[in-house]
């Protein structure tokens, strides 16, 4: 954890009501994780710091604290985002992806392979990293099909801005169950989730 003094001048506020704000975001997040690929609106959340968008920032405010080591991708490491997280969440920042409880990825194309993050332990698979992927959009992109717990039959999911090869990595991650990372996908005001249980198929695969 860094011990440098924080410059509070540029730090934008968090939830106007921390208790109600976190509860509202969490309920949508829980629904998202329970129903993989379903899209939820977080437009009520406060404006984010430069470098994050509203939904990703709201997820951080809701889930991060001193118990969760957080990995930031190089694009936001040492930036206003880092100061903002330290101030609001007091979360330790780590540069080792395998130590991260949460990883914030703002540039999915430049992210390390999923296998670099913590896949959990055979006895404690819950100790795996949750990745927060900031993407361009959650609707209107190339469509994939989701199946598994939380999906009745099959669900189409069409996020925008994921790099080539991403879905193959998600399939490999699913193939390692009970090991594996879980995903929270955040676009501007929208959020969706993909737990490791979800089977993904896409055209040409």
């Amino acid at each position: 954890m860094s011990a440098q003094a924080l410059d509070l001048a540029g730090i934008t506020p968090g939830f106007p009501d921390a208790v109600a704000g976190a509860q509202s975001v969490f309920r949508r997040l829980m629904d998202a994780m329970a129903r993989p690929g379903s899209v939820h609106d977080l437009s009520f959340a406060p404006p984010p710091p430069t470098g994050l968008r509203r939904a990703a920032a709201a997820v951080a405010l809701t889930l991060f604290d001193f118990e969760t080591p957080v990995w930031l991708d190089p694009a936001i490491r040492g930036s206003a985002v880092a100061d903002w997280l330290r101030f609001h969440c007091a979360c330790p920042l780590t540069e080792a992806p395998e130590e991260a409880a949460f990883a914030v990825v703002t540039d999915p194309a430049a992210a390390p392979p999923l296998s670099a993050f913590n896949p959990g332990d055979a006895k404690y698979p819950d100790r795996s990293t949750t990745l927060i992927l900031q993407v361009e959009g959650l609707v209107g992109g190339p469509s994939v099909t989701l199946e598994g717990p939380g999906v009745k039959g099959a669900r189409a999911f069409a996020p925008v801005g994921l790099p080539p090869g991403f879905w193959a990595q998600v399939q490999a991650n699913h193939g390692r169950f009970q090991f594996g990372v879980d995903f929270i996908l955040a676009a501007d005001d929208l959020v969706a989730a993909l737990p490791r249980t979800t089977r993904v198929t896409f055209e040409g695969n």
Binding site: V19, Q23, M33, T62, L63, P125, D126, S128, G148, F177
Partner: protein, 303 residues
């Protein structure tokens, strides 16, 4: 936020738990949903009610609940059992939340030992109070052993135990907390619900959350997830059935409680799900003892 009975004094945070504890529980819920049936250890707190009396369910509800929720709490299927009344009063006080007995109207239903008869729907969360989360605990007392069995999917011990039951009694003699397999990976204790309720776990539209406060575990079944009750080809899973129908509402499809009427062997059977029964009676259904005093329980004074 609307002011409620807890607000002016500010003795405790909204919904009793502090925000850090809620975050810790919320993170555990997300992992529980991502690994269905797996027991996530969590830093369970000491609550103002005793361990074994719903501390796991209360902590889950406290981490979920908001002022827009409508909360229902049942014990043995009924809204008016003492512990359900006590827990419902707790949340009405500390979370300024609307309470209901109506299964269809509730957004969060906390339960001990039953799943309501009326099918749940998307948007609802069913929170189970769990005394012993470990399905294998009765067969192996050591946590270090059972955790390894889950890790390596070694569930032979469970099948041996069911088989021994068949050998001894001619049938699988498990009646409540009947072991279930979640999405063909994790063996899960569905809490002490009667096996009558097990089929409701499968492909349910609601989110099912399980909290064990004393044992410090949270687990979950996401909506529309495969939940299989263990059985053998020649001894398929079966649920309880009754020769009687509900004496009050005439229902033949609900779980019945046996009420002893006198010392001379007189019995009546009534729905364990009090709201289901009341709703049926309101719709004009009647059983053979429709006028019995149990059909008109005392009303609670307004808060």
């Amino acid at each position: 936020m609307n002011a409620g009975s807890n607000a002016p004094e500010r003795y405790y945070n909204y919904a009793y738990l502090d925000e850090q504890t809620k975050r810790m529980i919320r993170r555990a819920i997300l992992k529980a949903l991502a690994i269905p049936g797996y027991q996530v250890p969590f830093g369970s707190r000491e609550m103002p009610v005793p361990y074994g009396w719903g501390t796991g369910g209360i902590q889950l509800t406290a981490a979920l609940i908001g002022p827009d929720d409508v909360y229902k709490c049942i014990d043995q299927g009924a809204d008016d059992t003492t512990n359900a009344v006590s827990i419902r009063r707790f949340f009405a006080q500390v979370a300024d939340v609307a309470v209901t007995e109506d299964t269809g109207e509730a957004t969060i239903i906390q339960t001990r030992h039953r799943i309501p008869e009326k099918p749940l729907k998307a948007g609802q969360v069913l929170v189970f109070q769990v005394p012993q989360p470990e399905p294998l605990r009765g067969l192996e007392p050591r946590e270090t052993e059972t955790r390894a069995m889950h890790a390596y999917e070694e569930y032979g011990l469970q099948y041996v135990s069911l088989y021994e039951s068949v050998a001894t009694y001619g049938r699988i003699a498990s009646t409540v907390g009947y072991p279930t397999m979640i999405d063909e990976r994790y063996l899960m204790n569905p809490s002490p619900i009667p096996k009558f309720d097990n089929p409701k776990l499968d492909d349910n539209d609601a989110i099912l959350l399980f909290g064990a406060g004393r044992e410090k575990r949270i687990y979950a079944v996401p909506p529309n997830t495969r939940v299989r009750s263990l059985d053998f080809e020649d001894h398929p899973f079966e649920t309880q059935t009754w020769d009687d129908a509900c004496a009050l509402c005439g229902a033949g499809d609900s779980y019945l409680d046996e009420v002893v009427l006198d010392d001379a062997g007189q019995r009546m059977f009534v729905c364990s799900d009090s709201h289901y029964c009341a709703e049926r009676r309101a719709a004009g259904h009647a059983g053979p003892m429709a006028g019995h005093q149990l059909a008109t329980p005392e009303t609670e004074p307004a808060q």
